[in-house]
């Protein structure tokens, strides 16, 4: 199968103006995943595995690495619990998601979602 290729620096709308394609490239999420506490990815892109590190502690490994560990990892989780991405052990190819109960104790929660925004290596 041949891969088609369109090369363009700008996208232009008939009335709404134009947009540099770098905005699209730079602004798109580079990886994402949705999983539950069983660490089985229901929907995702550019990840190789999820690791269940313990209660409320999961990490996502990437296939195509980010350029450094300075990227944005956005997390959400279900059931009105709290979650955050952890910078402590973050690398260019691994991000962490921690989940807590309402008292900020580590706690398992389903419907974990994480996206990575930034530059790829």
């Amino acid at each position: 199968m041949a891969l088609g290729k369109i090369k363009a620096d700008t996208l232009e709308h008939s009335t709404a103006g134009s947009l540099d394609t770098q905005y699209v490239v730079k602004g798109s999420a580079k990886a994402w995943a949705k999983f539950d506490t069983d660490a089985v990815i229901d929907e995702g892109f550019n990840s190789s595995s999820v690791t269940d590190n313990g209660t409320g502690d999961f990490s996502l490994s990437l296939t195509s690495s980010m350029s450094s560990s300075l990227y944005i990892a956005l997390t959400t989780c279900g059931n009105a619990k709290h979650c955050q991405s952890s910078e402590g052990s973050r690398t260019s190819s691994l991000g962490k998601i921690l989940t807590f109960d309402n008292s900020h104790n580590a706690n398992d929660v389903n419907d974990l979602n994480i996206t990575f925004n930034g530059d790829l290596a």
Binding site: D38, G44, V50, D52, G54, D119
Partner: protein, 157 residues
Amino acid sequence: MQTPEFQGTHLFDRLCWAKENLDGVQSDYRVVYEDSIDECAKILVPDPNWMACALQGGILPPVQVYWELAKDEAKPDFVKHTRGHLLHNTKPVEAMTEEQAIEYLIMKDCPQHVWRNWNEGNKPKMVICRKEQLPSTREWRNAWKITEELSVTELAA
């Protein structure tokens, strides 16, 4: 489906092709490992899209590429990757079996000190199992450990 010639194509673009053309493969294998005696056992679960790429062949770079990038990142003066081209320009690996893919994934996503010395010490630090062999609930999750009664003979069996 034939994989296009991908050497020199950005790995991200290859993954886009795979997402469009390959069905995800949910593996029943799990990798349980302990990387610290003070912490509970960790459980690694393969991504179905990644597994599809591994089984397809011609998409993923050799695992050694990730080791090179990890070495760069471990340097104290590391700012950002300057050898990312290794991911894109190194000849992709051929199709793997599911078992070979799990071995690759261990060498990619588990700490090296775990898998290089997995069977040194009083008990194995790492076990590949089926998901049915894991506890059915997450009760006392932070106390989960690989059993000390596990022997290499049993593993081989």
